[in-house]
Assembly symmetry: C2
Homo-oligomer: 147 residues x 2
DNA sequence: ACACTAATTATAACTATTATTAATTAATAA
DNA sequence: TTATTAATTAATAATAGTTATAATTAGTGT
């Protein structure tokens, strides 16, 4: 199924007239295959083996291209660097405040609040962003043991 | 009423043992009084008149102190710099993707989704973050006129 | 095969933020 | 009020993420 995602992504690039270079192929492949939500630098390091002389700028450039085409979402948390997420179906993020782990979860619709906000503010609504912060099971275990 | 907010904030500092310096007083005052959600640099520039030789580092330091004490929330969007919001009662942000304007709005509860997410992921939930993106009325007008 | 355009690489530049350090100042108690 | 002391400030340097630039390379269409 991640094969399909990759194929769909490549098709999207083709129809939008974005060249499919080996670097782009590799970045997309890595983004789809990984469960993490990597930073640009992590992607860069992960592909160092395959592309010994790829530039960090290439990673940033291509992530921007993917974002503009709608294949990738940029997530900015408090910490220094952005994280990148391959866009599949809509999901939200549960983030551990202790170790930084990010877990995806699905939830039906927040159409209601979008509607409400639109009414109250007079904005046209395009999208929303929701994150939930807490402590993940393994961090709970650790702190329980310490006590 | 913003007077009360300021007094409450100063009390909070006192009880948590944080010194009340003129700079801190001014930063808090500015944060409470402004409707915008300023960046550290904007705060710095706004107070330049009153404190001709205040350092940017002071602004950052104090914003961190305020955040640690719970008086201030740090908002990170896609753009380069964080924005800071004085914590009053819970509210969400509606953000214009065209001009960057941020409008606060209130909405009862998203307890349900917190509960759901906790069940699904096994996390203990502390808080959540929700933003809605769209186009503000005045940006709508502009684009309508251009057409 | 050739010309043309886009993408990559390497590097420099930029910007937001943090660390460092010496000088200053607010709170406290004598 | 004054002295004391630890916290805070200001100035500056350092760091890190990201973007811009310019030269080179790779694709694409004719």
């Amino acid at each position: 199924m991640s094969e399909t995602h990759l194929q769909d992504a490549l098709d999207t690039l083709k129809t939008t007239g974005v060249r499919i270079t080996p670097q782009r192929h590799a970045i997309l492949e890595y983004l789809i295959q990984t469960m993490a939500h990597p930073t640009a630098d992590e992607i860069y390091k992960a592909l160092e083996g395959k592309f010994p002389n790829m530039s960090v700028a290439t990673v940033y450039n291509n992530l921007r291209v993917f974002r503009e085409v709608g294949l990738v979402k940029e997530l900015t948390f408090g910490d220094a660097s952005s994280r990148f997420d391959f866009v599949t179906n809509d999901h939200y993020h549960m983030i551990c405040e202790c170790c930084g782990k990010i877990v995806d979860f699905h939830y039906p619709g927040l159409d209601e609040i979008e509607h409400f906000a639109s009414q109250v503010t007079g904005f046209d609504v395009h999208s929303h962003r929701l994150e939930i912060y807490g402590t993940c099971p393994s961090c709970k275990d650790v702190s329980a043991k310490v006590q």
